[in-house]
Assembly symmetry: C2
Homo-oligomer: 193 residues x 2
């Protein structure tokens, strides 16, 4: 569960990183002060010096996720070639990440039972809108109208979310190894104009 064998002095970022990890693995309920303190080799005394309370920690974890997510998408898109192949490469990368990186797309899933939570809903809305806009402009770059591009972005993003869910909950339903790469290629062909 915990990896860092204690640390001299903890920062606010250490706490929110641990909180984000707990959120990713076991949901919002796992963002609990005392268990996370234990995982950091500390006690609540430390926590309440850095944070006002549990809500403050949740907000910090969500904020950290939103930043990480934004940076990640931007880096991915930049990394993804030029012109027409940009969209295809992006799709391949994120669909690979879903089965490769442990917990890509897991935060969204962990947040689902609390999608109407006043702290969660705005973050979820911003992240989704940002990703949808990115996809939409990639589709308009391919010559689609704005309306068609939005629809395509919706379907594509839904497919991404669904694959994340399958990879997370029922990984046996997805092909393994090289077969998965071939499967992704077929998906990309179906989804791109």
């Amino acid at each position: 569960m915990d990896m860092t064998p204690a640390k001299a002095t903890l920062t606010r970022e250490d706490w929110s990183a641990a909180a984000l990890a707990a959120l990713e693995r076991h949901g919002l309920a796992a963002v609990a002060v005392e268990p996370i303190a234990k995982s950091l080799g500390a006690t609540k005394g430390s926590f309440y010096w850095h944070f006002a309370g549990r809500d403050d920690l949740i907000a910090a974890a969500l904020d950290q996720w939103e930043r990480r997510d934004t940076d990640g998408v931007i880096a991915t898109v930049d990394h993804a070639a030029e012109g027409a192949d940009r969209l295809r490469l992006l799709l391949r990368l994120v669909l690979q990440a879903v089965v490769g990186a442990p917990g890509a797309g897991s935060i969204e899933l962990a947040l689902q039972p609390h999608a109407d939570h006043p702290m969660v809903a705005p973050v979820l809305a911003r992240v989704t809108e940002r990703r949808m806009s990115t996809l939409e402009s990639l589709f308009t770059d391919q010559g689609l109208s704005r309306s068609d591009a939005r629809d395509r972005a919706r379907l594509t993003y839904a497919a991404y979310l669904g694959h994340a869910q399958l990879a997370h909950a029922t990984p046996g339903q997805l092909p393994k190894g090289k077969a998965y790469a071939a499967y992704v290629d077929r998906i990309v062909e179906t989804l791109t104009p």
Copy 2:
């Protein structure tokens, strides 16, 4: 929250139905004995007469969902015409249910943070496999090879899951009313051969 203004004597089914509703709305953590007792106008004394403990209640709720889901899919597929239109009609129905019926596809989402829970994982696996098989055979009916049909089923089911997630967490991202029906039609055209 609760609707039935108390009841003379409660049955095991009353409890598991209330548990399923709580699960659907607020996740597995909300499947808690005392809050549900309160929502039924009863106390724990009643609960522990019908159930061995909380795990027993969770199992009953999951079982109820699995049965309801199976019956629902079968009824839907039967309802869905004959031949080539069968697949298209099914897709239209489930994609409409995602935004129409309150909480279609919500249980899967609520269960995501506990996908590795020893009671949850087998149910999730069975439900997913059953749906995937249904889709696969509908695609083979359309002339696709078994392998192509499986791939198509994966993409289609992922799209369904993703739309359920969008409808649940960020409903603003989906078209409303009649525009949604048109959107669904475009999706179905893209996904069917």
